[in-house]
């Protein structure tokens, strides 16, 4: 496999509704931004790019089949190769990885991954219905199909099993909303307190409206290239950013569509098939897990995502990471719910299973230098969702995973100030970050590692 560089990116302003533009034109905003940031004009980039991958989740939202080719056409990319990928909430992450494969395999030297969703064309409750159709329509949807309900069931089990509290979840909401206060692309830029989160209208007990991401219209685009692609872009006049950023690791995992069908494996199977290398090598951690199993914990059950753990382990191995908390400078992860951010801390090995709640309230996942109005016992170690994540940025599904890629790129380039007009979210000298994209009740999960060249 060849090295793959993340060259440029663009994001449209995420908004509740974008009736001023069709979806093709919203994608073009993000696409044009990525091209302009390379200091290239549209025709020159069109000559340089070999092909594309398109990302959008639902044909229902736009009531348009084959919307991907309409974007390809609008961007002037016909007749270059392209295809659409779809995998629920992980569509954007899958799209980025498909573009990575195009470059790494030698099939293309310059590839653009673009994605979008226009969720505003239906009312929120109809949107919830469309999303719930991404659950089994024979067995799950007819019972009261509602994704917030599915995630709320996971969290009641997490709370019962591990003692996780609603206040710990609210810490995630306060953090991500305040981070987004400094991100002009975000849909919700507000300062909240723990009480605000808990007093917001209840959606699915115990998740309130401020524990849950919103529906959005938006688009994002990421340009990837090989060494030869970089040379081609440079020869065409591109101003390539230094330091260069590489996509050094990819991982994916899957799980059953029906959450009820997930296995409940024993301790030995967990340790053999799912534990991180760090967990396996620690006597203390093995003993900790043994105690959990002795008290009845089984894995993954409905409280954990084995797809996320599988994707993380795979990406870490690919990128040579053994201690993610210490070796990653930030993570943009799929926080569709505050509870799922906590579950994902555990899946990604930032803490052990069962310790996600205390980790959320510890301060380790917060940004340095921001005043959250909270008493946090620990200093930031690995900020999670410095952009504000899905909870505050919004979640135009097909764009979301690519948005994470763009924000991660800007972090590693050190160009957050240039793009946001605000330095508050720029980490000091970050070397490596992860992005995490997640579908369904944990059905498809991708983890990708981005790394600044030394």
């Amino acid at each position: 496999m060849r090295p793959v560089y993340v060259v440029s990116g663009g994001v449209s302003k995420f908004a509740k509704a974008r009736p001023d533009r069709t979806f093709q034109a919203v994608v073009k905003e993000a696409y044009d931004y990525a091209i302009t940031d390379l200091d290239l004009d549209f025709p020159t980039f069109t000559r340089c790019v070999d092909g594309s991958v398109a990302s959008y989740f639902s044909d229902h939202f736009s009531r348009q089949l084959m919307a991907g080719i309409m974007v390809q056409d609008y961007l002037g990319l016909c007749p270059k190769p392209g295809h659409r990928v779809e995998g629920g909430g992980a569509t954007g992450g899958l799209c980025l990885q498909e573009a990575w494969k195009s470059i790494a395999s030698g099939h293309m030297d310059v590839c653009v991954a673009y994605g979008f969703e226009t969720m505003s064309h239906v009312e929120t409750w109809k949107g919830n219905e469309f999303i719930a159709l991404a659950s089994d329509v024979s067995w799950d949807y007819p019972v009261g199909g509602f994704y917030s309900g599915y995630y709320a069931m996971m969290v009641t089990r997490h709370m019962k099993e591990f003692g996780t509290t609603v206040e710990q979840m609210a810490h995630v909401s306060v953090k991500n909303h305040l981070n987004a206060y400094h991100n002009p692309y975000a849909q919700k830029r507000n300062r909240y307190t723990i009480d605000d989160v808990r007093n917001a209208p209840m959606v699915a007990w115990p998740l309130t409206r401020l524990d849950i991401c919103v529906m959005s219209d938006g688009a994002a685009a990421v340009i990837l290239a090989s060494e030869a692609g970089l040379q081609r872009l440079q020869a065409a006049g591109a101003a390539l950013q230094r330091p260069r950023v590489l996509l050094t690791g990819i991982g994916r995992g899957t799980d059953a569509m029906r959450m009820a069908d997930r296995p409940h494996v024993d301790y030995d199977t967990f340790l053999r098939d799912y534990a991180t290398e760090q967990e396996k090598s620690s006597d203390e951690t093995r003993a900790y897990y043994k105690r959990l199993w002795d008290h009845g914990t089984r894995y993954p059950g409905v409280h954990s995502f084995r797809a996320g753990r599988t994707a993380g382990n795979m990406a870490y191995k690919h990128a040579g990471i053994s201690n993610p908390l210490q070796e990653l400078d930030f993570i943009e992860l799929h926080d569709a719910y505050t509870s799922s951010e906590i579950q994902t801390y555990e899946d990604l090995g930032l803490c052990r299973y069962g310790e996600g709640g205390p980790f959320a309230a510890s301060g380790k996942a917060f940004m340095p230098g921001l005043d959250y109005g909270l008493k946090l016992p620990a200093k930031p170690v690995c900020p999670v969702n410095p952009s504000g994540g899905l909870i505050a940025c919004g979640h135009p599904v097909g764009a979301t995973g690519l948005m994470q890629g763009v924000f991660a790129l800007w972090q590693l380039q050190g160009t957050v100030d240039k793009h946001f007009g605000d330095r508050a979210l720029q980490l000091k000298n970050p070397r490596r970050g992860a992005i995490h994209s997640h579908a369904g009740t944990g059905t498809y999960v991708t983890v990708s590692i981005l790394e600044r060249e030394a």
Partner: protein
């Protein structure tokens, strides 16, 4: 009495407007002005009836219509699915039907939905639950009845429950629902 919400609910529908504002003449100034025009939005209805087949899972629905809760099991390993599968995921072998109507069951996880998909809004608040059956390896998604949604507590997890069946089957998984095992109504 609770305070009225600050926002009136939004909905589609309304008057049909005949005549759309547009410049009387298409001179260059007027055409340039079109770039500043607010977008036009129209309603498009999309309604369809599917003929959905339950395929190999059909006996489960026939069982529920007859007050029997079925599951499937791998004949060799004994791995048992509360939500039936035609084939075991570990051996690939065809599963067999078993009757679990009277097995002990308890709540594994639950939530109270105060909002939902359009189809279920009239039923809010409703309780969704995953049920754990003794000797069954997977869970079953269902509605939980006979509880006060306002009194939701983690203590509901682990509560013994039993199935009840709709008298008039709709051939849906909601033909069965669960109530606390000590419920005396039948």
């Amino acid at each position: 009495m609770a305070k009225l919400p600050e926002q009136r609910p939004e909905s589609l529908g309304g008057y049909v407007v005949h005549g759309v504002p547009f410049p009387l003449e298409t001179d260059p100034d007027a055409l340039a002005f079109l770039k500043r025009m607010a977008p036009l939005q129209i309603e498009q209805e999309y309604r369809i009836t599917y003929l959905h087949s339950y395929g190999q899972d059909s006996p489960w629905f026939a069982g529920a219509a007859n007050r029997r809760l079925l599951a499937t099991t791998d004949p060799v390993s004994g791995y048992t699915y509360a939500t039936p599968r035609g084939n075991d995921v570990y051996t690939g072998a065809e599963t067999e039907w078993i009757d679990i109507t009277h097995r002990p069951a308890k709540v594994h996880a639950f939530t109270v939905c105060y909002f939902g998909s359009e189809e279920f809004l009239p039923e809010c608040p409703y309780v969704l639950a995953l049920i754990e059956y003794e000797g069954v390896n997977t869970l079953f998604l269902t509605r939980l009845m006979g509880l006060d949604p306002q009194q939701a507590t983690l203590d509901w997890i682990g509560m013994r429950v039993r199935p009840r069946f709709l008298r008039n089957s709709k051939l849906k998984p909601t033909d069965v629902y669960f109530v606390p095992a000590d419920s005396t109504e039948d």
